[in-house]
């Protein structure tokens, strides 16, 4: 028996270590040589390391979110540290696993704020845990660059809340516009019953019907069931021409494979969730590469992989190959990874502009280093921004994800792109402009 208890304790210890290394609490300085190979002069060896929390799910149904965030944070601190850090401080990224569940995310946020004494900001939270944790982070004066798309934050007054990626309701507009442009007039809305997916639905329905279409089926889907055949039958009975969807990979694979078995596939328009690697892998295996290329399109924020800011990002990303989920190149054209990269750069530049690493001081300068203005110097990298600020200039940072223009509610939105998955690669097939979205959302 003693042997068994000892074995149990040993197994628990081993698994705890494994869980920590795989899912949370891990940190990385993203150091090493810079993309260009320059030394990291300027960092004060005795200065504390400024921490950016990667506050997102790294395990659970939305475990794909975390690695995407790492793909942006690590390249950012690489370029920042290579250029001497921020006011002499090096920076690092620390993973905080929310498990995609408020019950886990709240204590994770409290632990992070209590233990990370040099925490200067976080990336996240996602829609899974935002409602529960945004108030906590805001009260704790932690600047957060969220990836939640919940419309509840469209008109927030939280001073430490910043959203570079479009809100979910905007995503609904983009999907409706894209389907309308393709000539579809009858659509089924098949969204998971989780908060994040359901927040897409109201604007999708209002926009699609406003454009003359009809939503013939709109019922939330319980996630991760062993079968969706009855739901598929009900959907088919409504005769949609296209299916709008946002569900997790397992649900998507089961649902679409059963649709394929019962009827043959219909055109499917997904959200950015369905353009993430785990979703593509799961569904591609379930329905086959040919069907995937023929029937599936996904909408995601438009961030073309080109331009000087993107080149700096991509160079740093590829140089960080051992510190991000492999292959590093999968994040090269990921708009969320790009915006996380931008978020860390924006925080670092705001600190320089404020001459302070205190979030309570530099938070207001986030707007100052991003908003356009006459006489401002447009910069596309941390190094250029740092040099311009040191020269006494005002700057506008234009990132890998494009210009960032915050509203007074700290929201910034842009255009959307539609992509197909062909031969293992995402292929851009079109875009919905910010102007189109603005016109329909009035």
């Amino acid at each position: 028996m003693r042997l068994a208890v000892t074995a149990l304790a040993a197994a628990l210890a081993v698994l705890s270590v494994a869980a920590c290394s795989s899912s949370g609490g891990g940190s990385s300085s993203g150091g090493g040589s810079s993309p260009g190979g320059s030394a990291s002069g300027g960092i004060n060896p005795s200065a504390s390391t400024l921490v950016v929390g990667e506050f997102n799910p790294f395990t659970g149904p939305d475990a794909a979110f975390g690695p995407e965030m790492v793909g942006g944070c690590i390249p950012a601190i690489r370029v920042i540290n290579a250029d001497g850090g921020v006011l002499g401080h090096p920076m690092s990224c620390v993973q905080e696993d929310t498990r995609g569940d408020p019950a886990d995310a709240v204590p994770a946020a409290q632990k992070m704020m209590a233990t990370e004494t040099s925490l200067v900001g976080v990336l996240g939270p996602s829609s899974d845990e935002a409602l529960a944790t945004v108030p906590l982070l805001n009260t704790g004066q932690v600047p957060m660059f969220v990836d939640t798309g919940q419309a509840a934050f469209d008109h927030t007054t939280d001073a430490y809340f910043w959203r570079i990626t479009p809100a979910d309701d905007v995503k609904g507009y983009a999907m409706a516009l894209w389907a309308h442009a393709a000539g579809y007039t009858r659509a089924a809305a098949v969204f998971g019953n989780d908060t994040g997916a359901q927040s897409d639905v109201p604007t999708l329905v209002s926009a699609f019907t406003g454009l003359g279409g009809t939503i013939v089926y709109n019922k939330p889907l319980a996630l991760d069931q062993s079968s969706y055949r009855s739901e598929v039958e009900s959907i088919l009975a409504a005769h949609p021409q296209v299916i709008f969807t946002e569900v997790d990979p397992q649900t998507g694979a089961t649902f679409l494979s059963e649709l394929q078995q019962l009827n043959g596939l219909l055109p499917v328009i997904g959200t950015e969730v369905s353009l993430q690697a785990p979703w593509l892998k799961a569904v591609n295996s379930a329905i086959g590469a040919g069907s995937m290329a023929k029937y599936f399109e996904g909408m995601q924020p438009y961030a073309p992989p080109s331009g000087p800011a993107w080149q700096t990002y991509n160079q740093a990303l590829l140089a960080s190959g051992s510190q991000v989920a492999k292959p590093a190149s999968q994040w090269s054209s990921d708009p969320y990874s790009m915006t996380y990269y931008d978020a860390v750069n924006v925080m670092a530049l705001a600190m320089l502009a404020a001459h302070s690493t205190s979030p309570a001081v530099f938070d207001k300068d986030v707007m100052a280093v991003t908003e356009p203005g006459s006489g401002k110097t447009v910069v596309t990298s941390f190094a250029a921004g740092k040099a311009a600020l040191a020269a006494g200039k005002q700057i506008q940072y234009v990132g890998a994800g494009g210009p960032i223009v915050f509203t007074k509610s700290h929201n910034s939105t842009g255009a959307f792109e539609a992509a197909k998955y062909v031969n293992g690669n995402l292929v851009l097939v079109g875009a919905v402009s910010a102007a189109q979205i603005a016109a329909i959302s009035k």
């Binding site: 055949r229 009855s230 009975a237 397992q250 078995q261």
Partner: protein
Amino acid sequence: MNTIVPAIGFGIVTASILAVAGVGFTLQFGVTNILNLAYGDIMTAAAFVAYLVTSAGLSVWLALVAGAAFGSVFSVLLNRCIYTPFVRRGTRLFGMIIVTIAVSLMVQNGLLAIFGASFFSLKMPHPSSVHIAGMVFTTVQLAIIAIAVVAMLLIHLLLRYTKLGKAMRATAADPDLARNCGIATDRVIDLAWAISGALCGLAGVILVMNVTAFTETTGSQFLIPIVAVAVLGGIGQPYGAMLGALVIGITSEVAAAIFNPEYKDVVAFVILVIVLLARPQGILSEVAARKEVAA
């Protein structure tokens, strides 16, 4: 009406998976008095074994055998190395539930550490559709139904017509009396873990054959309906679990066809509550009343 007949067919597929899983779960509890909440995770682990087998280019039938064998061996070792020492120290039912939850987390995190946070699929031939009496099945689903029928038949033959089956039923009914009658209850319990573990592993593989993509939490997400099947049938009652699987499987699919699919589980559980109000010991239980369920 157009959707109800197909929904019954879909329910039979769900019931087949639930029956294999539910019978294993309830057999385990009936003989050992351990409510093993790591059951769903062992299903997942068996599915990963099947994934390795099919990834090596071997047949999915071999993967089924490998998954069942893994479930059997893992369950016996789990009982011998972890559960039995706690039972011998006098840990009661509630304490054992906590131990099984710990094991569940260990297995999940172990799979996460080994395979990573991703989604996996068994490599199988693409199934074709078959129409039978207004119901639509794929060849994979027909195979799942056949596997479940054969497994249930074997369990029936084992319990009714073999000495081991009688010994298992006697141990489930009253372990002390069975021991006093000369039954080697420790050996019977070992064999019960082996057989229920094999069903667990088999259930894990047929579950992921059906859902097509799985991750380290897939089995645990399926645990609640499995427990519901066991409770509905009368916990510890394999035949009750078979009946419970049919009730839960078919009602949940029909409910999804008629009502809002978001509430398919809710409808199934409302039926569970109604049945239990009328018959608290479950549909077929003779044993539950004698178990220290509330201990």
